[in-house]
């Protein structure tokens, strides 16, 4: 999974710098199966094609509010459609910029799924390998994660 770490970090850094004028500090990547329970808002993008998997960004609610207010340039209520849309777009940009660095691979990305709810977790498919990178910006702490199952594994699971 090491090959996915730098693309995910670069994509996160680029998204925060260009869209939020904010720099990101990264902590040591760790393999995990679930998000930590302080997640209040998550944006998830599915990956398909040469790999099966997902890219997710997960914030405590307070951090998500700060990020989305900055992204939209105005106060956006957490329970609004605009908030969900903006979280999805942040996830979309991170996932898109990540997969752009998977040279030689043909990967499609899904439309975003956004989960809102204190302490939620996102269950990974069994067999998928995960890398979770804790991040910190001036807007608060958050997590980016990539979960990948090689297509052959995914096909075998579907066939089985």
């Amino acid at each position: 999974m090491d090959e996915y770490i730098q693309p995910l970090m670069d994509a996160t850094e680029k998204t925060f710098e260009l869209m939020l004028s904010n720099s990101v500090r990264f902590y040591d990547p760790t393999p995990i199966n679930n998000f930590p329970s302080n997640a209040g808002v998550s944006g998830v993008i599915g990956l398909s094609g040469d790999v099966a998997g997902a890219v997710a960004v997960s914030f405590p609610t307070k951090t998500a509010q700060a990020v989305i207010n900055k992204f939209c340039g105005m106060e956006v209520p957490v329970d609004s459609e605009d908030f969900t849309d903006a979280v999805g777009e942040i996830a979309n940009m991170i996932a898109g910029a990540t997969k752009a660095e998977f040279f030689g691979m043909n990967i499609d990305i899904s439309c975003p799924t956004v989960i809102i709810g204190e302490g939620h977790t996102i269950q990974r498919p069994s067999g998928a390998k995960c890398v979770c990178i804790p991040c910190e910006s001036d807007l608060g702490r958050f997590i980016v994660e990539i979960a990948i199952a090689p297509k052959t594994t995914a096909n075998a699971r579907l066939a089985g």
Binding site: K14, T15, L18, M19, F71, C72, G73, E81, D82, D85, A86, G88, E89, N92, M93, A95, G96, A97, K99, A100, N106, I109, C111
Partner: protein, 123 residues
Amino acid sequence: MTMKILLVDDSKTIRRIQGNILSQLGYSDIKEAADGKEALEIAAEFKPDLILLDWNMPVMDGLTFLKTYRAEGHKTPIIMVTTEAEKSRVMDAIKAGVNNYVVKPFTPETLTARVSETLKRAA
């Protein structure tokens, strides 16, 4: 004559950001569509002078819109604004008739520059 611009993106947030950037450039006749199918319907009546087009959208994606729109004979300049950054995808879009390309995430300066150069080329 007022420049008519159509923004096509399934994200309302992105359409708003693009709209704000274009407003600051003095463009005010702007319409929005959330997918390719809706964009085809709006474009038929609105007859835009420029289209900003996302790639990954539900219902009809940007590349399908682009191919359909060009097949109908429209020469309106189109800027693809998308997370699809791989060379092969950019080539697909160019072959389908896109005029310029902006990779998300983007800065206002990048979008402004691409809009200006695309309109200049089309003039």
